[in-house]
Symmetry: C2
Subunit: 226 residues, 2 copies
């Protein structure tokens, strides 16, 4: 890559990091657990989020979601059916979300009592890794149809994540998904990372995933309260 | 995006375009039909290429492949099993291939009589659209598991392609793939674009695809010979 682009990109990243840090402080002050979902295009971020928003609301939690895409508001409309407040961020050519985009869309958005704020990033396994959004938790999705080698091919993103969710597990047999190899590859890049297996179609694994999210938020709140 | 990045990026793109133009001239002079495959990570570029290299070699064509990935040489090793000459390009953090990377890897690579040169791009639906590699044909893959809306969400890439290949068609029923919607979305972005439906597992559609590639190369050669 051209050295001048690298230099300017580092400045942009530095500015992004500073804003993300301020936003992280704000999320803590509001006790709003913020989750950044990253993955390839089409690996099931929106479907997982539909299930997750529904489950959390059923359990009495106030939730909200920001959804990033280059174009269209398809995903925001899909997610809004859950009854949760949802906003679409259209990046118009930018392959990832940046902290400033999140900040701008949160401005003047009243979310009283919101405990979980989900940010669905643009489908991209590279540049999304570099942009901190101030999130409390970064979730990387790995779809069984994508192949088990993605963690090795995109180590930066898998290494930057806190937890991995394997999606479309109902298709595992049909595409001869090798669970052991996938786990080994995730753990090569990020030893010990927690991995969930889910299907947004059948619902498999969703309850465990949502329970873990709630526990994880509680631990985070307890730390902030101290 | 930061205006200075946009400005420098335009300069980089301009330089890339100039090199790509020179390479395109060279590919024509060598009668080497060059195919740039673009798609999401995990939508089956390598699997389609394995099938395609095997079929073309069986039909007596000399072929070669360049394979782009951030890290690992998994794909090059997979493709080399076909007996075709293969080279891996590791981009180490860069989310797309650039003409200069292709030029560098072709330097001193003797490919006598090579008629088809395949370039498997990095899995990315955004930045790969902007970098011309001097190819004769750009192929965009759309995997049935990814959802039918990808052309609308990533119009830049679908619009820059010459042909679309729907992959993993054997999983269409399992993931309730809506063929009509997918076709309509492709044609909204790129009216009339030719679409193939393939499965690299069952072999469905591969013969049609390879036959079309050979015809397309012949038309291209005829134009060059005039």
């Amino acid at each position: 890559m051209c050295p001048r682009i690298v230099e300017i990109r580092q400045k942009v990243l530095k500015k992004n990091d500073e804003l993300a840090r301020r936003m992280r402080g704000r999320f803590v002050a509001e006790r709003r657990f913020t989750i950044n979902l990253v993955s390839s295009p089409g690996s099931g971020k929106t479907a997982l989020l539909e299930r997750t928003l529904a489950e959390l609301q059923q359990a009495g939690h106030a939730v909200a979601a920001l959804v990033g895409d280059l174009e269209t508001d398809h995903d925001a409309r899909r997610l809004a059916r859950s009854g949760a407040p949802v906003k679409q961020i259209n990046t118009h050519g930018c392959c990832h979300l940046e902290a400033e985009m999140v900040r701008r869309h949160l401005e003047d958005w009243d979310l009283p009592g919101c405990r979980f704020l989900f940010i669905e990033n643009v489908g991209n396994l590279v540049c999304t890794a570099s942009y901190d959004l101030g999130e409390s938790l970064r979730v990387v999705l790995l779809c069984v149809t994508e192949g088990e080698d993605k963690p090795l091919k995109y180590p930066g993103l898998f290494n930057s994540a806190d937890v991995a969710v394997i999606t479309k597990i109902d298709l595992a047999a049909a595409c001869e998904f090798d669970r052991d190899v996938a786990y080994a590859n995730v753990h090569t890049v990020r030893p010990g990372m927690r991995i969930f297996e889910t299907s947004s179609t059948s619902g498999q694994g969703i309850a465990d995933w949502v329970r873990w999210l709630c526990e994880r938020r509680q631990t985070w709140v307890d730390q902030a309260d101290r």
